[in-house]
């Protein structure tokens, strides 16, 4: 499953559109006025917003730093939105030093526990902005095993979550 941020071209139909229709999920920061041809999810970034009761509808909350995750989880718990995705990008971890990588690993374990308790979904993504930053499925499985998460269970849960959460056109 691929989530793409750069989405301009996915509003126009092409020859390949019907082939990749369900394997591609677009990521938007705000709800699109025009319906895209693919399923999409609304992503809220930690750095771009403050969590309060007036926060607009979103599907995924993207965490940026390991030292603010406890505060963010408390705020999300207070917000009480069910079935949202909490995203962690490998790109953020890659740019950290080894001490911080350890902190990230610990924080992801705790975020996973939080997600299980509150019926939310942990999303570990590459956060790739270029081709060479992309991460293979095999590597994701290894990272999940390091995080003490069973890969098969994780992928099944994520697939189920995307199928229930991602939608065509504005809801």
């Amino acid at each position: 499953m691929i989530g793409i941020d750069n989405t301009k071209e996915y509003f126009k139909e092409s020859v390949q559109t019907h082939v990749i229709n369900d394997s591609l999920v677009l990521r938007f920061n705000i709800k699109p006025k025009k319906s895209p041809l693919f399923k999409y999810l609304l992503v809220l970034n930690e750095s771009e917003t403050k969590i309060n009761s007036k926060i607009p509808f979103f599907d995924i909350f993207s965490l940026n730093s390991w030292y603010t995750y406890k505060i963010m989880l408390k705020k999300l718990k207070k917000l009480n939105r069910k079935n949202i995705g909490i995203e962690i990008k490998i790109r953020e971890i890659r740019n950290s030093n080894s001490y911080e990588v350890g902190k990230w690993i610990k924080s992801i374990k705790e975020i996973n526990k939080f997600c299980k308790l509150t019926d939310n979904q942990l999303i570990i993504s590459s956060g790739a902005e270029t081709n060479y930053e992309s991460i293979s499925g095999h590597t994701f499985d290894s990272i999940l095993r390091i995080l003490e998460i069973e890969p098969m269970k994780y992928w099944n849960e994520l697939e189920k979550w995307i199928n229930t959460r991602a939608y065509y056109g504005p809801s």
Binding site: I90, I93, R94, N95, S98, V101, G102, N131, Y132, E133, S134, I135, S136, H138, T139, S142, I143, R145, I146
Partner: protein, 114 residues
């Protein structure tokens, strides 16, 4: 009971990022050496020097690798998870393209991609 003489190995085909190659524009594979140094350092920082030695990471230089961006590494099968994690957490990024049990299969896949 048969005593296994050799540890099982895996060969990894990596793509070395432009950020490394532009810093080390040298035909003597210095860019590749640099990426290995970065990877080994990250591995030992994350999993310790004992695990690094157990992984026995080796660089394989193949004559038919025409692109300077490709790199083949060898490591123990038991350490493959740690190895892939270290690769994923390395900055500048290294990309794992393929994992194989034999070097022949790996090089044939490069021939197709090039």
């Amino acid at each position: 009971m048969v005593l296994r003489r050799k540890d099982k190995r895996r060969y990894l085909l990596l793509y070395v990022n432009d950020e490394i190659t532009t810093h080390f524009q040298d035909t003597n594979n210095r860019d590749k050496h640099e990426s290995i140094t970065i990877l080994r350092k990250r591995f030992s920082e994350l999993f310790g020097t004992i695990e690094l030695e157990k992984a026995s990471i080796k660089v394989i230089f193949e004559n038919n690798l025409s692109s300077p961006h490709f790199l083949i590494l060898k490591c123990n099968l038991e350490s493959i998870d740690n190895m892939l994690c270290a690769i994923a957490f390395t900055s500048p990024p290294l990309t794992t393209i393929k994992i194989s049990g034999t070097i022949k299969k790996l090089t044939s896949s490069i021939a197709i991609e090039i």
